[in-house]
Symmetry: C2
Subunit: 213 residues, 2 copies
DNA sequence: AACAGGAAATGAACATTGTTCAAGCTCCAT
DNA sequence: ATGGAGCTTGAACAATGTTCATTTCCTGTT
């Protein structure tokens, strides 16, 4: 009746995610995991090389879920026949905001971890998951009647999503009271509105072309 | 000849900043500080309640310097007679980008620390310093011929700056090779261009007014 | 059924860290 | 000179990540 190795890995990840969500990265302790999973400290190190690997695995799952959530939100709008670019981007942003709200402890940990990774070389699965998010946004932009080639659309998607990301993460440094949530949403609406208008006019790239350093 | 208490505090902060910049938050160790400062571990705890306070103090200094850098950049343009809003915002963004580049280790630590603080209650000096940055941006926007009341201008300033922040921090997860730097700058240029155009048209707030949740 | 071999689990042990605090020390006003 | 307030010290403690020799458990073989 003992759990499979794979099942135990799942159990450990679920526990780790809960620990991260409750107390952030500092709360992910080998002994806490072992105790809650009913195994010994050493066994945790049999499943994962170190706690970093546990943290990474939890983050991967979160990013995966976030991507799925975004795709689901897009599919919903598709089914409803909503094609307006502004609406669709706002829906993506809303999905993102909801996701961050739903993971108040672990989402900061995802970001901090991602940043800490900076010294390491080369891209990895982490980047692939983030790129997937950018691709969804780029797909939405493609549906608009903007005059953009693939490169510019990709750039616009990354710019837009990094901006949304900045708004959400800057906003959620404080407690998630409704004032904060309302402020974040107002900023997102302004950003998206301005962005869509700017792209529609077609002149957004005019300066960038002539002034790049 | 022994150092003043204040001088020693300065020395400790300088050492702490160097440690943070070299190895991030994990590299800020009481024993490292003590050793490099030529004092005992206990003495560090006489100057600061704990390492968090050291970290906070370092961050304050960094935010202070960032604000001063931004103001200096604005003063430069003023002296040159540059009034174009787009140029001035780009200059602010450039100052921000340069600052982050100059503190590759400690800037992430500032952000992570700021985020970790999330559970605590109420605002503090930290928020005041961040607000000061927003105010500079709002000041620049005020010079534009946008049709904005104070509230909307403040909202626009926060939105714009959070977006720049998101672009810069998303971009600098990787090593600071020139590809990364170039990408960041293209995104910033696109964002600022789109933003200014969007505000100029005056319609950016039309949707936000009617659709707020 | 008995046994051998290997895989997995164990938890004691080690190294590193933040933090505390009793004991000593310094130095200045009296 | 001396009293004492404050400073400094570094040993000691607790919490933690990580390792590894030992034990336990299972599985296939005879």
């Amino acid at each position: 009746m003992a759990l499979d190795k794979e099942e135990m890995t799942e159990k450990v990840l679920a526990i780790a995610e809960a620990l991260l969500n409750e107390g952030g990265a500092d709360n992910l302790k080998a002994r806490s995991i072992a105790e809650q999973a009913g195994i010994s400290v050493g066994s945790v190190y049999n499943l994962f090389a170190d706690l970093d690997e546990v943290h990474r695995a939890v983050n991967m799952r979160l990013l995966d879920r976030l991507g799925a959530t975004g795709l689901a939100a897009m599919a919903d709008l598709e089914r409803q026949g909503v094609t307006d670019v502004r609406h669709r981007i706002l829906a993506m942003a809303a999905a993102y905001v909801r996701f961050v709200e739903a993971h108040p402890g672990s989402w900061p940990a995802v970001l901090a971890f991602n940043r800490r990774r900076a010294t390491r070389p080369g891209p990895d699965a982490y980047d692939a998951l983030l790129d997937a998010l950018f691709d969804i946004v780029a797909g939405v932009l493609k549906a608009g009647d903007f005059d953009l080639d693939d490169d510019r659309r990709a750039l616009a998607a990354r710019t837009l999503w990094s901006s949304v990301h900045g708004i959400v993460t800057s906003g959620y440094v404080a407690n998630s009271n409704s004032r904060q949530a309302e402020e974040i949403w107002r900023q997102v609406e302004l950003l998206v509105g301005v962005f869509v208008k700017g792209l529609e006019r077609g002149g957004a790239f005019a300066h960038a072309e002539t002034k790049s350093a």
